[in-house]
Symmetry: C2
Subunit: 330 residues, 2 copies
């Protein structure tokens, strides 16, 4: 029996973002695919950092960003993910704890430093991410806290972690613990390159363990190797009881039991930085679900949170999402 109850507990990469502006030429010169995430090693991280302009550092990580958003909505949350015992690890720990999130994963005292993501923001607001996984990769099933997982209404897993074998095993254990306690498992596909790398593993995990899937259009198409959105949705519905697929300014589609619910995007005056858009959509959706709201309201809470975050730099909300939702009558 879990000692505490949570709306959502997340498992993901514990990352510090290093964010700098750049022009389109900076990306093309280095063959960087705009809008995507690629994994880099320590040497490439150093080379790219040397070449980047002045930067700003702040906590990131996809599911960690969602958990920060959930806390801003007023949700009770926990997070599991590995940092190193260094200054960037201290930043990550401070920021997530200061939001009232329970975070107790022990920092690694040897091995790689805390993970970092070098984020290049072009003038159109698109972000191109270069991730050095560092200590995040040292995450194993031993880091799972059964009390957290069994006490959560939803356990939310980060697709990016499929790149680390020990983390994939940890996901299987987390799903078993959560389902054993009658809890729901949510997963985000994270990135279409991740889907390309782990298509089979992800399909199997979704079919057997996932109750709620988050994906954007490109990720969903990659999952089923099709260019036809409707066909991909049909396939997904056969394997997953609930899914939310984001489509940028076209809003999102919520799929459940043969139904498709279209949710419009919120209007944004000026898109400054798209980093965290999907993460905050998931935050709003999961918060609604944890509060027993209708799927339409869940989708609208997702749109609301995504709109807030793309109107400023950085992947986490800068205002209270709870107040924003109240103002919007949600």
């Amino acid at each position: 029996m879990a000692e505490k109850s949570y709306d959502v507990v997340g498992i993901g990469n514990a990352i510090v973002d290093i964010i700098a502006r750049c022009d389109e030429g900076f990306l093309s010169k280095r063959d960087l695919a705009k809008g995507f995430m690629r994994l880099i090693d320590a040497a490439e991280a150093n080379r790219l950092y040397e070449a980047m302009g002045p930067a700003v550092e702040r906590s990131g990580g996809s599911v960690a960003n969602s958990i920060a958003g959930l806390a801003s909505f007023g949700g009770k949350c926990g997070f599991i993910g590995r940092v190193a015992a260094d200054q960037f690890g201290g930043i990550f720990r401070h920021d997530i704890r200061s939001l009232g999130v329970d975070y107790d994963t022990l920092p690694a005292t040897d091995g790689a430093p805390t993970a970092r993501c070098l984020i290049l923001v072009t003038p159109d607001g698109e972000r191109t991410m270069n991730t050095f996984l560092g200590a995040s990769v040292d995450f194993t099933a031993d880091d799972l806290d059964a009390n957290l997982l069994e006490g959560a209404k939803i356990v939310y897993l980060e697709g990016y972690l499929f790149d680390a074998e020990a983390a994939r095993r940890a996901f299987a254990k987390a799903a078993a613990l959560a389902h054993g306690a009658g809890r729901k498992i949510a997963l985000t596909l994270s990135d279409s390159f991740v889907v390309e790398r782990h298509r089979g593993g992800l399909q199997g995990f979704i079919e057997t363990q996932v109750d709620l899937l988050f994906a954007n259009e490109a990720e969903l198409l990659a999952l089923y190797e099709t260019a036809d959105f409707d066909e991909a949705c049909e396939q997904l519905l056969r394997h997953c009881e609930l899914a939310a697929v984001t489509r940028s300014e076209k809003g999102s589609v919520v799929l459940t039991k043969g139904e498709m619910l279209h949710v419009p995007a919120e209007t944004v005056e000026k898109v400054v930085d798209t980093t965290g858009a999907g993460d905050q959509y998931a935050a709003g959706f999961c918060f609604g679900l944890s509060q027993g709201r209708s799927l339409e309201v869940c989708g609208r809470l997702g749109s609301l949170a995504a709109a807030e975050v793309i109107a400023h730099y950085g992947p986490r909300p800068q205002v209270s999402l709870k107040e924003l939702a109240a103002k919007a009558g949600l």
Copy 2:
């Protein structure tokens, strides 16, 4: 003979800022004097950081901010200041070098970590600074690079460093080197509490070594222990050939040879964060001076740079000050 020539070389604290929003109650509960800087030790830095909300990290340091502004105007600059060989030190080094500034002070490999400033920004945009000097205090005359100092039109010194005895001695040596090469010494008073702590030392240094003084109104009044602005200006004119005194929204006053030149402030739509206002004023003024512009233009370049920086979070310009000046017809 110096190998390279510079418009300005700065000597200051090498600091990483940790910036978080807070409400007025957070300050009053802790007796923090809004708008001022106080020095804190490692233990207090940890306590305050624990209590602060989620933060953003970026390079700071008063004179380092000015050097970043000068580089944004297109000035050729160098910087001298001590970090530790840690992740925050890496942030500081990367950010200043990526602006094209020469920065080669060796990082400290033992002793205190890189200096940090915990900056609390209240809803009115005022910043309250809590500085742990860390490795900055290990700065000594041995860190001075004669090539840099003798090659600079202006050597710009940070008043905050008067809090460290070895740094005060380094200032004396720097002034001797610069003056020996026919260069100018500029100094910023930094903070009125610094002036209170080192009034005698600062007065002596100004009278004997300083060619250009930057101060805000409160600092100037503290320097001469008077509440009368005109009287303080008169005193200063007796001791210093050129000074620029900033007065927030009232603009600035440039003092030289018995003359007072009033320079208006630039209009700012919304003040977001006053951090770096004085630093950027000094950047614009020094840039103008290094290019042989009139004192009026120097003051207006200062107002322009200050207006840019207080309209966003963070102490360094986010757009090209060179382009901004061109647009303003300066």
